[in-house]
Amino acid sequence: MMDVPSANQSQTPCQPWAGQKDWSTVSPPGHLFDPLPSFQHLNLGSPSDYTPCYNHLQMSSSSFHRDLTAFSPNNNNPHNSLLYVNNTDHSVQRVIPDVSATIPAASQGSNMNEDIHHCDTQQSSLHSPHNPYQAVAQHFQHPYTHLVNGPQSPHQNHLPVRPPLYGNESPQCIPQPGFEGANARSSAVFTHNHASPTSPIQQQSQWTLPAHSGENINQFVPTAAAQVKSFTPQSPNSESRYGLDPELLPSAVKVMTEDKAEWEGKVFTSEPFSSLPPLATTSCIVEDRGNASPFAIRSTSYCVPCEGQAALLSRLPLGALITPLVKQSAEEQPLPLCKETECVVGCGGCGASMCPAMGWQDCGQRFYCPFCGKLSEVPWQHYQPTNGVNGVRVDKEKRPELSMGSYEILNSQKGEAAALLLAIDVSVSALRGGHLEFVTQQIQMLLNFMNREDGDASDVRVGLMTYDSRIHLYDLSPELSRPHMLVITETEDLQLPVREGLLVPLKDCISSIESVLQLIPQFNTEGTDSGGVPMELPVKAGLTVLQGLGCPGKLLIFHSTSLIETGYTSSGFFGTNKPKSIFQPSEQAVSVVKECVRQGCGVHLFVLSHQDVGGAWPGDIPYLTGGALHTYSHLQGELDRERFSTDLKGTVETHTGYKAELRIFVSKDLRVSGCYGLFVPGPNPGRVTLATLDTWTTLAVELAHTRALDETRGVAIQVVLSYTLQTGDRRTRVHTLTLRCSQQLQDTFRHYQAQTLLTFYCKKMYCAVQERPLQELREELQTEVTEALASYRKHCCSASVSAGQLVLPQYLRALPVYINSLRKSEVLLPGLRSSIHQRLQQRCQVLCMDTRSTATHFYPLLLPLPLSADGSNLPKPEEALRCSAASLEPRGLYLVHTPLTLLLWVGTQVPACTLVELFNTSCFSSLPSGETKLPVLENHLSISIRSLINTLNSGASCTRKLWVVKQGDSCEEALQRHLVEDKSPNGGASYADFLYHLHVNSVRLLHHREEHFMRYKELKCN
């Protein structure tokens, strides 16, 4: 374990190398083939030695080989000079040459490409005879993925690189007695190195120098800015213990920027057997040509291994992220809508809907269902001939169900229109809190706004409810001269006294509601505070109202009193229903949620007086029903008030599907083995029921093989979402995604994307926290990635890669930083200052995010802001910086944007004029920190920055407060959490450390396996 847990252990978290013990267990000195890091060579000579070495190293590959043989017995610890091979299909060919080829590259630069190719061809014939596919593929592959750290290769040469350790045919892997001594030595040096942590930095500056020459082959070469920075003292958080230069590590920012450069604003054509789509963070236009948009279904891999065994071998999960109600961009074609009666019916066997993946046979009389493998007859009403016996139907283009990856069916059966139910806490403490007036005003404004709007918003049925320890319902029927308040004293097993008047179309009851809302703040404040109201009370009451009227709806609860915990009453000494973890919702909450789901009732909870300490966390019910929990502290501050009104409006206006039933069909040779997201899991992971869902709701589906896949058929995934619209129309949305499959494991690896994997892991792990200990999950995450890397190294880099080389599939370059960020997220690794409530809340918020938001959440957007405005130099997201303290300069202003937070970091040396323009204060020390509203100032800088913030806010699913963080301020920790490449305040490892560890372990893993294999062989021979 790399992380230093600080919240749940009593260790002092600030001890910088507290993780050391863990590290040392990784490298037991007695290990024979341990390729463990040693800092031996670093200490062999002073940094000044390197330059001469460098010159000296300009030699041919033959000399390298000579070197290798000469030094190999002595050195098995090359790791501190990790070589990052951005391993694509080239990786195999490059394994050997990268050492040799980069030597000229480092010095000659311009002719390097030729050299590489030269070598490639040579080497491929030599070293990868077993992989013809790769050899062929090489020529059409994009050549920009290469050896990463060219500049470091001198060390590689300088040091005898130990022979490649993988490959069962490797003859060099003979145990050598000398190793033991080396190991012993290395561990000694290791500790020494701790004592002088500055040494890596010195080396680093040296190493970066050659980067200029290697620019065209190394995408991770630091920019000029980075160069400058390397001379400035760095935050100790970002530095590596193992002397890795953080700037040279694979950059998630860069990956996103590249993808944006390629796809931003362009059209991605989604055809069957989809190619790798643009990243979720890239906004592009998707054209549906028979395959669902990646924004609706995003497979973890766009090439599925045919064999289940191969899939297991890859160690990477097979699955998809589905956002069934995804919002389409304005440029895209609207989703075609067809009526249920006119639509060609789907498979009768499994119930899958009609889609382009269905194969037509017998001149259109029958079709083959890829999901169950059965043949279905076409009813005569829908019969159309096909072109040729097995061709496409002639009416294919006219029918969305035959031609589109996504389409919608309007069911002939209409349900009840959804209702909006408002529940306001009027208990004594709420009335005394003094915020009810504001709340009721806001609600009133909202209702007026809805009513004024032309269209159907005024037809929405609205209900009102107040509660203290009792429930007050309101009969708002227009026949009554005044609203009738019904006080229900028996709140257990609530029964409704009336029906019709409880939910009334807005336009008929607006005046009644208004009069009630005006009265609410004046309710009698006499009486005693009964101490708290269980959250279930208003939920159950609201649910009963909806049940009584048989309609789905949104239940907005404005809660003020402290929350009291219920549900754990029966856990006596022998109580069996003890929660397994803090994340597990109470049984009572789950049963309420189940009821809500049955009714299609989404609960949105506005906690108006937030008490972080003590009391139950009320968020389970809202989040599990597709709602949300919003917390405010008494709505006194203007920011809180603003946030409240935005949240309120957003909650009501969000496009929502009610009473949703989601079915996932996959090719018959696959099965759905898990489904992760915010819902109460049912017995069948392929069938999920949700109370409500919105356009962001995203679930992760995990797939598993049942049989080998047929390469010609590919894989089809169909997501069928039946839901009720606000108006009561029942619709079914069908997304179908077809994927290629391949026998080659390498194909699979190449078609994984880091962001997708991150989101998938995030959903899976955040779901698993309910059942399993966090440490186990963190380790599992690490193991998974390590094993995946090892697997890739073993199976996809055919020839030898030096042990010091990190090999990563092209699109998974950013995976380590993402996974590290996930590992050390507050949910999985509690920090000192994060309360349990915050963590629970964050878990739920992240769980319902889509891929784009998840990626931004785990790797925030760090935008440098201009210090003076001429109106044009607004930062674009493309200019984002790496999330590291090293990116922050005391002279700058930076904006950190994640889906949940918005931070403005102000450096100590920001010019006073900038402060004046932005904050209306010239003095850095008088600048308020914490949540702030930027003053409205009429200058370019202020206007442009505020508009930037507004733009960023408009895309977020929940309203955020702007936090101003001053450099050196106590609340800088809030920012540090988001600098994910650095060591986190909660003790999470820095990116560099994690990557190092990942690599080392993956190599070691391979080594172990090999050793076992050898022993096994020996045993057999004997």
Partner: protein, 766 residues
């Protein structure tokens, strides 16, 4: 000396008392031989227009267990300013305020004509009257509409300072808050859960939840009227309540096919009782329950909501097949007792075609002195006018209702009180004048009558305790004092004291005198009350046998006959009508359950045990008037022979008012003769009974069912079932004769009954 008739009448007019015997047998043995016990019908609040109440407090005997009120029978020593109690012979000094007393300056209570006197006492604050409407909303639309209108109308009839409250119920119970502005507010209770009074009061926010250890000082008792938002003065919430009633909706829950609506009458009543109990204990209050069907859920449920299981009938009850009967009865009894303890009376206005569970709920009214009104629909004049009449006013402009009455009976030593039968509950007050023998509600000398009106009449039964060998000296008088404390409808507390005395007579020597002092009407009603009281707990035939035996014994005692010669049997004038009353009583719905539903029986019995003598007699033996061209209207025998073709009959059974047109009259009417000028007299003849009926309808409470029928009409059954079946299909000899109509019945006629009675009376073996 005047005749006994006049004496009795005079006594009734003055004191509201009718004794079965106006001379009392001087020993226990003789009294028992008289068969009919010494007993009286007492109308505590008998209307006395000429009796102005006195504005001071009564003077009480100082003996702790006597406390009799100074009355005209007391011996007064004007010089010593001392009076002797005529019950315990305690000598009491007059209070200082009586210092000026002398033979010529006597206080009213000492004057003979003030044997009944009413005192107004100023004790405590004047408590307002309270009317709590408990309204069933599971009604048909028109019914509910009519009820709403009636209720709205009633608001204008209430005294302006009266407090009103509203509880509505259907599937759930709603207690409406009347004070709030801008928004109607009600508290909702589930209809299925039995709640204790404390729970109800807590839920309604009437009691502050006890805050433990709040500076250790008890909360100041709050003015209930100020805090109770559910009961508000009419003048303040008049408009509000009118609106509220106007907007009252039917119970919103759909009633599935084959089901009854769910009606939580039990909980609604429990809430009503709990509410009053918590806010206004011991203050006059009326809970007015309006129901349109039986309670179908929760405590007090009478029948399930499945229509396929009909509500219990007498048959089911006899077969012990009425599932909910006992439980429901017990529940309502408990409620009634609670309500009675607090002095609140409960009215039931049940309007439905089927039964509504009055059998189970009757005790609510019976024990608390409330009304029961039964009708077919709220949308009938029967209900509307009856309801209106609840709020009728007397000559002083006061409501004819009184609350929280406590009736205490004091007797002189030779007499003890056995019990009372009427709309009252025992207060379990053991005084020396309480007999060990119980007749009716006994074992006490005090009864609570929560709701009183001027006609409320109790039957009170006494026992002569004097032993035979220690006779009362000749000329001695026994005395009885009735002390009725009550809350007048104008919120005054009043005490009415009636003191009567009767002479003792030796039964052996003065049997003739005793016989002539017999008040056969009072005796019939008193015996009937005993019979009805027994019928509540005993099997019908047993009661009839008991009645028969009593009658035979009475005839044996007072009849003049030769042994075993029925034809020689004679009864004196003072007893001559008694057997006939008994004959009709035997056939009356009070004792016969045949043809009556349990609800109807309960309803009839309820009214029988509270009406005054005249009305009770009408109930026992309906009055029949005959209208013809041959003379003025005349009362005729309640006999089938009175049913003649050329007569119009008007029968008053108290509960029904039947106008029956004879065959010929009906034909004439059909032919439309009454519209021809030359048959003006026919028109007048037709009109005459209508006018008379109208007169009865004007005054009677509850309004009788008004039936206009004719020969052969289906409604004629009301008449035919009442008349003495002197001609039936069995005694065919009457056929062809122009005397009345034969009744198709197997019941015995009066003639047969009398024959048997004579036979048994004279028989030596009996």
């Amino acid at each position: 000396m005047t005749t006994y008739q006049e004496f009795i009448q005079q006594n009734e007019d003055r004191d509201g008392v009718r004794f079965s015997w106006n001379l009392w047998p001087s020993s226990r043995l003789e009294a028992t031989r008289l068969v009919v016990p010494v007993s009286c019908l007492f109308t505590p609040l008998k209307e006395r227009p000429n009796l102005p109440p006195v504005q001071y407090e009564p003077v009480l005997c100082s003996r702790a267990n006597c406390k009799a009120v100074l009355n005209p029978l007391c011996q007064v020593d004007f010089r010593a300013k001392i009076w002797a109690c005529n019950f315990c012979f305690q000598r009491n000094p007059f209070p200082p305020s009586y210092a000026g007393i002398s033979e010529v300056n006597q206080p009213a209570e000492l004057m003979a004509q003030f044997s009944t006197i009413e005192y107004i006492v100023q004790r405590g604050p004047a408590a307002p009257l309270i009317f709590l409407y408990v309204v069933d909303t599971c009604l048909e639309e028109e019914d509910l509409q009519a009820l709403k209108e009636s209720l709205q109308m009633s608001l204008s009839l209430l005294p302006p300072n009266a407090l009103v409250g509203l509880i509505t119920f259907g599937r759930m119970v709603q207690v409406h808050e009347l004070s709030c502005e801008g928004i109607a507010k009600s508290y909702v209770f589930r209809g299925t859960k039995d709640l204790t009074a404390k729970q109800i009061q807590e839920m309604l926010g009437l009691t502050k939840p006890a805050v433990a250890g709040q500076q250790g000082r008890p909360l100041a008792p709050q003015d209930a009227a100020a805090t109770c938002k559910f009961l508000q003065p009419v003048h303040r919430v008049d408009m509000n309540l009118t609106d509220l009633l106007g907007e009252l909706q039917r119970d919103p829950w759909p009633v599935p096919q084959g089901k009854r609506p769910l009606r939580s009458t039990g909980v609604a009543l429990s809430v009503a009782v709990g509410l009053l109990e918590g806010t206004f204990p011991n203050t006059g209050a009326r809970v007015m329950l309006f129901i349109g069907g039986p309670p179908t859920q929760g405590p007090g449920m009478v029948v399930g909501d499945e229509l396929k299981t009909p509500i219990r009938s007498w048959h089911d009850i006899q077969k012990d097949n009425a599932r909910h009967l006992k439980k429901a009865t017990k529940y309502y009894e408990a409620l009634a007792n609670r309500s009675a303890t607090n002095g609140h009376s409960i009215d039931i206005y049940a309007c439905a075609l089927d039964q509504t569970g009055l059998l189970e709920m009757k005790c609510l009214s019976n024990l608390t002195g409330g009304h029961i009104v039964m009708g077919d629909s709220f949308n009938t004049s029967l209900f509307k006018q009856t309801f209106q009449r609840v709020f009728s006013k007397d000559y002083n402009g006061d409501f004819r209702m009184a609350f929280g009455g406590v009736l205490e009976v004091k007797t002189s030593r030779e007499l003890k009180v056995c019990g009372a039968i009427g709309p009252c509950v025992s207060l379990n007050s053991k005084s020396p004048c309480v007999s060990e023998n119980e007749l009716g509600i006994g074992g006490t000398s005090q009864w609570k009558v929560c709701g009183l009106n001027p006609s409320t009449t109790l039957g009170i039964y006494f026992e002569v305790v004097n032993q035979h060998n220690a006779p009362v000296p000749q000329g001695g008088r026994g005395a009885v004092q009735f002390v009725t404390q009550y809350q007048h409808s104008n919120t005054q507390r009043r005490i009415r004291v009636t003191t009567i005395a009767r002479n003792w007579a030796d039964a052996q020597s003065q049997i003739q005198h005793i016989e002539s002092s017999f008040d056969q009407e009072a005796a019939a009603v008193l015996m009937a009350r005993l019979g009805v009281f027994r019928a509540e707990s005993e099997e019908g035939p047993d009661v009839l046998r008991w009645l028969d035996r009593q009658l035979i014994r009475l005839c044996q005692k007072f009849g003049q006959f030769n042994k075993d010669d029925p034809t020689s049997f004679r009864l004196s004038e003072s007893l001559s009508l008694y057997p006939q009353f008994m004959f009709h009583l035997r056939r009356s719905p009070f004792l016969q359950v045949f043809n009556n539903s349990p609800d109807e029986s309960s309803y009839y019995r309820h009214h029988f045990v509270r009406q005054d003598l005249t009305q009770s007699l009408i109930m026992i033996q309906p009055i029949l008037y005959s209208y013809s061209f041959y003379g003025p209207p005349e009362p005729v025998l309640l006999d089938s022979s009175s049913i003649l073709p050329d007569r119009i009959l008007l029968m008053d059974t108290f509960f029904q008012l039947v106008i029956y047109h004879g065959e010929t009259i009906a034909q004439w009417r059909k032919a439309g003769y009454q519209e021809m000028a030359e048959y003006e007299n026919f028109k007048q003849l037709l009109q005459a009974p209508l006018d008379d009926a109208q007169e009865i309808l004007q005054t009677r409470f509850p309004m009788p069912r008004y039936i206009d029928t004719e020969h052969g009409g289906s409604q004629a059954r009301f008449l035919l079932s009442k008349v003495n079946p002197s001609q039936t299909h069995n005694n065919l000899y009457a056929w062809g004769q122009e005397t009345g109509a034969p009744i198709l019945t197997d019941d015995v006629s009066l003639q047969v009954f009398m024959d048997h009675l004579k036979k048994l009376a004279v028989s030596s073996s009996a």
